[in-house]
């Protein structure tokens, strides 16, 4: 199993540009998450998905969009990049059933700089 994979690893965007961060998991997990990590702030939840076709906002969703057309893929879209979106983005997945949560598995991250 590859686990959780993310592409690209690094990206530099100009203000106003758009891009999609890719995330794929091969563990048949039903729940997937996007977090952003800023220095000294820990990780904050952007969006999450409980299964194909179902997504919802997390703590910091503004400026982002997501979709979940398959169990495996959970892309994160930035429509109009802003300097405040400079961050490291982590995708994670887990199998959650009847309120019992299992370990979350994290991807290696995407380091995004917006200038």
């Amino acid at each position: 199993n590859a686990g959780v994979t993310q592409t690209p690893k690094f990206r530099i965007l100009k203000i106003g540009q758009s891009m999609t961060l890719q995330c794929t998991q091969d563990m048949n997990h039903n729940y997937m998450y996007w977090y952003r990590q800023d220095p000294g702030m820990g990780l904050k939840l952007i969006y999450y998905s409980v299964g194909a076709g179902i997504t919802d906002k997390g703590e910091v969703p503004n400026g982002y969009n997501v979709s979940r057309s398959t169990t495996e893929d959970f892309p994160l879209r930035l429509e109009l990049a802003a300097p405040s979106q400079t961050s490291v983005y982590f995708c994670a997945s887990t199998f959650l059933r009847q309120g019992v949560t299992y370990e979350q598995y994290f991807g290696p991250g995407t380091r995004l700089t917006v200038t």
Binding site: Y31, Y33, Y35, G40, M41, G42, L43, K44, L45, Y48, V50, D56, G58, F90, A92, T94, L96, G99, T101, E103, Q104, F106, G107, P108, G109
Partner: protein, 116 residues
């Protein structure tokens, strides 16, 4: 709502010395508790977790943590650290109730720096 406080942003320690990284949480419902480690320029790796049962939890790389419900704490300890333990450590919780979406709520992290 839940919150996690890691009391020290940086902890310097000499090699082979013991270390304790402190974590307190606030929650109106019961929680699952986790410690993750992040090595430089890498993703997060689970060190250990507390779901239920014994309050002393042992994890990878010789780390352990103790859940103290009355003090709402989950401090991480290692009796003798190595240079390779230099990393950032995150304490996190998942609220344990029927409507939980299973997302982790993180503290701000503690940077452990082990010096020779």
């Amino acid at each position: 709502a839940q919150s996690v406080t890691q009391l020290d942003s940086q902890v310097p320690v000499f090699e082979e010395a013991p270390v304790e990284l402190r974590c307190n949480y606030s929650s109106s419902v019961s929680v699952y508790l986790f410690w993750y480690v992040q090595y430089p320029n890498q993703g997060l790796q689970l060190l250990l977790k507390y779901l239920s049962g014994s309050t002393l939890v042992k994890g990878i790389n010789g780390f352990e943590a103790e859940f103290n419900k009355s003090q709402t704490s989950f401090h991480l300890r290692k009796p003798s650290v190595h240079i390779s333990d230099t990393a950032e450590y995150f304490c996190a919780v998942i609220p344990n109730y029927g409507g939980s979406q299973g997302n982790l709520i993180f503290g701000k992290g503690t940077k452990l720096s082990v010096k020779p």
